[in-house]
Symmetry: C2
DNA sequence: GCGATCAGCGGCACG
DNA sequence: CGTGCCGTTGATCGC
């Protein structure tokens, strides 16, 4: 009997009362569902959130080793002095079991937080602000906003060049890889088929891997380097200055 | 003065002593680096691991809203009665700041855990065990293990059909999407160029999206449905029975 | 270190 | 719901 009744009641009340529960202790864990996993006993942290999210963390790495998404049904029981937690997703036939044989800490909390995080410098931000001034990509490019919407919905920027040719522009916020070229290729083929005329493809990214570049050129597409700094308030995209969304303020 | 000196010393000792630290309280958070983010004050959970991993969790959803990868340099200070935590990655010029104005809990732990999780039913597992009996994909297929290694290293399975044609097989553990077809296409093109002869492409997955299937057929490739159950010990891949890696044991 | 790919990816937006 | 795709993706493995 390692887990005492008092601790268990704390856990039970948290699980039943939909509070947020934090556990630290020595546990074994196993999962089955989309795959199966197991890990022998070790000291870990478990977080069970109000919405049924379930996390098992080792004391290293960023990612949880086991988890269950929101809306999982959590149960707890005392089994031979051990605390057994189970998080099920009946629809997906998934189950995560965590068996604690030691508990260093158990605490439950009612956390009030209605805030949403705002993130800046996403691919969407890049594409939107680039569209305000496509000259950084190529002189004379004119964005065709509505076209892009109607046509696909996935194309970052659809534009027309000086010669009146359609240009599909794929924007990447980090190193462009083979995937990005494949993606561009699909979009170009799509538009070309739709419009029944030649379409150019431009890949915009801070850099591109050698393989991706070779693939790109082989397909007849073009690469344009873009540089950006999320903290530069006036011109966060190098070479683009007008009509940019103002940056969020940050303390020094 | 909301954070008391005693709590702060607990935090400071944990941060300096490379212990694992868990904080629960009301905080504001901001990040800058690859992007920028900020979120107004709310009740959240912070975990700082021994290796410098830093996590900020809201009381909903599975994913952390802010984080810093392993090896970040963490510092803490008391500022106007508030606890300021900073996690920096000098090389990437990244910084995460968390400012607590209330602390409901602060605990530090020395967690001992040398175990590694074992996961079964990954794509690698699927490909390896399928290779033991390719008849479930097509009668007469013979795997060319060494070829695949030498040729690329990324092709899941390279085989030869009854007519002696090369067959590139891409295996997916879940719904095959457009990406998977693009990937297969790249590999087929690669092998075709290398060997200078026609190459077939087969996409193996539990299911395939309509768009992906259309794209696949348009490219002249083929789809083969595979069904598997990670918990079925004798035949976890339907139709494949021999030489399979034994499944890990799970309690009922 | 970069490059390529998988992940029980998670999350979001759209149809 | 599925489909598609981004993500401060993270993590792994090969070079």
């Amino acid at each position: 009997m390692v887990i005492n009744e008092e601790e268990f009641q704390e856990v039970r009340k948290a699980v039943e009362g939909k509070k947020t529960l934090i556990l630290v202790g020595n546990c074994y864990a196993e999962y089955y569902g989309r795959a199966t996993s197991k890990i022998a006993e070790g000291d870990r942290i478990v977080i069970i959130k109000r919405d049924g999210s379930f996390l098992v963390h080792q004391n290293k790495k960023l990612a949880a080793i086991n988890y269950q998404p929101p809306n999982s049904r959590v149960s707890c029981e005392l089994l031979d002095g051990c605390l057994l937690l189970q998080a099920r997703n009946p629809k997906k036939k998934e189950m995560l079991k965590v068996l604690f044989n030691k508990l260093y800490y158990a605490g439950s909390f009612e956390l009030k937080d209605d805030e949403n995080i705002t993130v800046f410098a996403t691919e969407e931000d890049l594409a939107r602000d680039l569209m305000q001034d496509l000259s950084v990509i190529e002189e004379g490019l004119v964005p065709l906003k509505n076209e892009a919407m109607v046509l696909k919905g996935f194309i970052d920027i659809l534009a027309e060049d000086k010669q009146g040719r359609l240009v599909v522009i794929e924007v990447k916020r980090r190193v462009a890889t083979l995937d990005a070229v494949s993606q561009l290729k699909r979009y170009v083929a799509e538009v070309m088929k739709e419009k029944n005329k030649p379409v150019r493809g431009i890949l915009c990214a801070p850099s591109i891997s050698p393989n991706a570049h070779a693939y790109l050129l082989r397909e007849g597409f073009e690469y344009r380097k873009i540089e950006y700094d999320p903290l530069n308030k006036e011109k966060w995209i190098k070479g683009v200055s007008k009509k940019q969304k103002p940056l969020a303020e940050f303390m020094s």
